[in-house]
Symmetry: C2
Subunit: 277 residues, 2 copies
């Protein structure tokens, strides 16, 4: 990652959607990969893997305020392909997005799935993680840590279980927020790590008050802020702007040096902040 990040040819290589003006439209394009044993558990139900593959890519579109026009998937064939298809069909129907194409791959060993989602921006400039300004309010949607709790409650059908197995991309929320935000991204790798990334990308200091962060389990609030897979939206708006979606104000953007501060102290380096892959 370090070598890649330094290289000019790889500057575009970050975990974010690409924005491509085209005629009167602006396209938003994602490419995300799920690796067995890294992003999904070894024993994950293929139906849930298919759902997640679609959901995480649409979540990238949501953070850009984009409306999905279609997806392509790359599926490594293996066990229970029928279950994979069932989950794929359910996700496509639920999110009302067509499968445009893709390919299938045959290989032994660890399985990998790829997905590209294409959407049209509903507002330009398209939000990214670089625009937060000193004085802005920091918000996050939903409750963090549900997916973490769901991991230990799998198959129960509880809200936590579904948060882990069947995440919902916040497409409507992203579209409603796009015209208002100064910066926005989805929280895929944990609130603290993603907030730190946004702070660095915006060259500002993010001051977050942990007591304000909606945690699924108060007793494990710190874990809830470090765990990934919640797919909530983290965003900043100028102070005083009214927010059209349910979200909690968790802090304020300040002048740099860039970094994340938690409860009045530096939260440390990215490597200490959450789940990385």
């Amino acid at each position: 990652m370090q070598a890649l990040a330094k290289d000019p040819a790889a500057r575009g290589l970050k975990d974010d959607a690409a924005v491509l003006p085209l005629g009167d439209d602006t396209l938003v394009i994602t490419l995300d990969t799920l690796v067995q044993g890294v992003h999904v558990r070894e024993d994950e139900d293929p139906a849930d893997i298919a759902w997640k593959l679609i959901a995480v890519n649409l979540s990238d579109l949501a953070a850009k305020g984009a409306a999905p026009t279609g997806v392509l998937i790359s599926h490594m064939l293996g066990e229970a392909d029928d279950r994979f298809l069932g989950g794929l069909r359910a996700a496509l129907e639920t999110f009302e997005v067509p499968l445009l194409g893709g390919d299938t791959v045959r290989a032994e060993g660890r399985r990998v799935w790829g997905c590209t989602a294409i959407g049209r921006a509903t507002h330009t400039p398209v939000p990214d993680r670089r625009g937060a300004r000193p004085g802005d309010a920091i918000y996050v949607t939903g409750t963090l840590g549900r997916a973490m709790l769901g991991l230990h409650d799998r198959g129960s059908g509880s809200a936590d279980d579904l948060a882990y197995r069947r995440p919902r991309p916040l497409l409507a929320e992203g579209r409603a927020l796009a015209p208002l935000v100064t910066a926005m991204m989805d929280v895929s790798d944990g609130l603290l790590l993603d907030a730190s990334r946004m702070a660095h990308a915006s060259d500002t200091r993010f001051e977050i008050d942990s007591a304000r962060v909606p945690a699924a389990d108060r007793a494990r609030a710190d874990e809830c802020m470090r765990w990934g897979d919640d797919y909530q939206l983290l965003f900043t708006v100028p102070d005083g702007v009214e927010i059209p979606v349910e979200a909690a104000r968790i802090g304020t953007v300040r002048e740099g040096p860039a970094g994340l501060w938690l409860d009045g102290r530096s939260a440390g380096e990215d490597k200490d902040l959450g789940y990385r892959h």
Copy 2:
């Protein structure tokens, strides 16, 4: 593949680019995956893998007559990432296509790379493999089997070596042909297998005369027609149409039943015809 092919949710899942009308434009979008040990050798130079990743996706655009606007890649980090980047940079510069984004993935075991290429159609309707009609002439560009010969000549810098390690997508040729062809695809899995697929997709019989197929090694002509990785263009045009690129006429499209005939006999089922993955 069979289960996938039968399912409505997976109808879009074929090894082909997706076509997406958008405003005044028509987008062409590919998603191709390379798997270590399947599509690239275990000991392949990462620089060549990066090149091939870009080239095979652009070859899908070429077969659609599309002009590339950018690529996204998914790179599984591992050994010699600097060499991967070198090959990536070389391919992007050579084909004059920008890297729009993508992600990096960290995982043990077999490595996998994904790429999405986005292009704009230069001619509509966009060519596909379904349009061949009885009476059409069948053509293929270039010489088949070069990549096969290059596999045993690796690193020599010979034309065959470069055909294997550094394939060139026929973008200019694809654009020149798009307004003229009734069907077109790139030959990635071997001429016979891909011709059979086009015959079935067009519900016609493809009659190919093996003596007319330009083979890199006459003594191994049969192997040359079954080996993949050449990335030439296979296309059909109405009889008598003048071809603006160098290509060999190798046969004629006839009324069905659908299938491939070689030298006056049925060439058999797809499973016998070439290299599949």
